[in-house]
Assembly symmetry: C2
Homo-oligomer: 144 residues x 2
DNA sequence: TTTAAAATTTAGGTATACCCTAAATTAAAC
DNA sequence: GTTTAATTTAGGGTATACCTAAATTTTAAA
């Protein structure tokens, strides 16, 4: 039972997370619509995510992210937004391109690299799109 | 006919490139040995690489990278080494970790981002392992 | 309360990427 | 010319990811 998420599974997890803050109950149909995929595909993907311990499925009640799932999705979002902010601010790359590249590398960045970028940026709270940047578990520690 | 290489195909292409500078003739067996894979798997992978226009296969004569293949592998190697050098030098990350992460993101970095890192580093000729860094097609242009 | 509608899952199929072993082929070396 | 070595093909296996159609379950309406 492999813990690592595939690119696509991460996509499902991110959508599940996003929808969770928009609606009280999130079902496979919501996720299928958002991803432009059939209900059956979404259902399968969610099953795999729950097998990997990322979500809890309660059919007709909606899904819930587990602590592991929340940790994972936060890490991915943090990776994306710190990388994007860094590249946009310090490498003079357009926001579109920074975001696009961040999407491609977000799964593959290491915590240390992202924390280092974060430190250099002065631990920003928001990305250039003005979205929240989750804190790094070990980042900022030296400031306390 | 999709032009983009998969992670694994890029691995095969890199090995093909490396071996080409070590031996006069590179066959599927050489590549299979280097990657720890059966001859049959290597043969298949090389077939796919030739369908994507990256190499020319001349059985019992060995393979040759096409111009496209050389361009592609140079881009990947450049991405790896510039990223690794940048992260090592400017983000205070260990060389092992920089290299490991570079391996994971090398396929996904955009030229603009890599060129920007390259400019900031002063267009280095070698990575911290002292390996050659291929020039970027559009990098350095403003210096001429 | 029963039934119809909506949400969801399961079953069965397709495609792609990898990998394997065993068998067939082809070139090179003796 | 045969044998040996390299290579490819054939046939299978697993995993991811998608689909449609059918079955299931819940909710809501008549």
């Amino acid at each position: 039972m492999n813990k690592l998420l595939t690119r696509r599974e991460a996509e499902y997890l991110k959508v599940a997370f996003d929808l969770s803050s928009e609606k009280t109950s999130v079902g496979s149909l919501d996720i299928a619509n958002r991803l432009g995929v059939s209900c059956a595909s979404a259902s399968e993907a969610l099953k795999r995510l729950s097998e990997k311990g990322m979500i809890i499925r309660e059919p007709w009640r909606g899904i819930r992210l587990t602590d592991l799932g929340l940790k994972e999705v936060s890490r991915i979002i943090r990776n994306h937004r710190i990388f994007e902010t860094y590249v946009y601010r310090l490498l003079s790359v357009s926001l579109d391109e920074a975001c696009e590249c961040a999407r491609r590398v977000e799964l593959h960045l290491s915590d240390k690299i992202v924390d280092s970028m974060c430190r250099i940026l002065g631990h920003p709270k928001r990305c250039p799109h003005n979205k929240n940047i989750p804190a790094g578990v070990l980042c900022c520690v030296e400031l306390r």
